[in-house]
Symmetry: C2
Subunit: 230 residues, 2 copies
């Protein structure tokens, strides 16, 4: 069966989290949003199905699943990139959803008032929100992940690399791009070691070196605006 | 087995979503945060387990699960309040996570800059954020749910009332409390009918009339600040 991933073209955004799972597993998938007429196809499928509120979403036969962490959890279970026992599975889902919250908060640093208007319309508020994000939220979230690694071993849940470790890789990459100065101050050696382990996995290394891996840019979730990095 | 729900006492907050599932199912559960010394117990368990980033979380034997929608999905599966086929299960999870996003956005109307400081320190920004929430986000999210009901029938996912319908009840209650004027303008007859169906379920009706159902207040997620209701 071919998986169909639907996400906006041109940005990594939230779509990159399920894409990393598909790439690491070597799964057969169509990246529909990047097709010619991909956006129109995506909008037609959303209107037909009703369930996805917004991209990303995945179609896998009769299953349609939206919401980043739910997609990665679903794929992790199907593709052997998730713990197998319920204790590990629900730990992984909990952590993945916590990472999704961190992604939301990263987004809101540049859109603290409304997602319906450009960053440039809300710069003073963005500066205020970004300060709290840098000073309190990044250390709190990354300290939480670092603590989990101290408790659980070299991976965040279960005994082997799972989808949630791939998501941890992506959040480190995104935050380093957007907030290089703030990230240089974090003391997260275990998390950075996990990031390196993930980046070195053969299929992911090939993906990351390919043109399929888009560069970060100022249209996505993780945006580098120096004025927001303190 | 007795379920252990952990959440802050004194507010409905995010804990109310799993609580509604437990109550509707007539499950045996301890509402640990509301015990004498409940907060200390909760913090001790969080420190021991590592996995929950924040309340609410649930302990069910060897499983520990945090994040509102993940808890309700887990409980729905275990307690017969979820669709049984994968198509329905993942539709329910997707919708539950979308409702959780709406809860986050409702929260951020009164804390647009930082959750670390009181509403009173961020009132001008709150007014701006609340305007976009009322004018664009409430109609978009509730219109999405209304459309799902038009497609799927009288419930949001599957063929019978599930945990996600209970979550829809709660978001309607919360938004009506916080934004009565904005909510009076919404055209969502199917969603309001679902709300009434849920409220009339015998165990839930008993719960809602009991002292266990706390009133909304200005310490929770849904706060009634008239200046934010337009």
């Amino acid at each position: 069966m071919q998986y169909e991933l639907y996400y906006w073209p041109g940005i990594q955004g939230r779509g990159e989290f399920p894409r990393l799972v598909l790439e690491d597993a070597g799964a057969d998938y169509a990246d529909v949003g990047r097709d010619k007429d991909g956006i129109a196809k995506m909008q037609a499928v959303m209107a037909e199905l009703g369930v996805p509120f917004a991209p990303p979403f995945l179609r896998a036969g009769d299953v349609v699943v939206g919401q980043t962490a739910a997609i990665t959890s679903f794929l992790g279970d199907r593709l052997g990139l998730a713990p197998r026992d319920d204790g590990g599975r629900f730990a992984a889902l909990t952590i993945a959803l916590t990472i999704a919250d961190l992604v939301d908060e990263a987004h809101d640093t540049h859109h603290p008032i409304t997602g319906g208007e450009a960053y440039e319309t809300q710069k003073p508020e963005a500066k205020l929100r970004a300060a709290g994000f840098r000073d309190r939220r990044i250390p709190k979230f990354l300290g939480y992940l670092e603590n989990l690694l101290a408790k659980n071993g070299q991976v965040l849940a279960g005994n082997e690399i799972s989808y949630v470790d791939l998501s941890a890789f992506q959040i480190i990459e995104g935050l380093r791009y957007a907030f290089p100065k703030a990230m240089a101050k974090q003391k997260i050696p275990k998390l950075l070691a996990l990031r390196d382990t993930v980046a070195a996995r053969p299929r992911l290394a090939a993906y990351l070196a390919s043109k399929r891996r888009l560069p970060f840019n100022e249209h996505g979730i993780f945006r580098h605006y120096p004025e927001l990095d303190g």
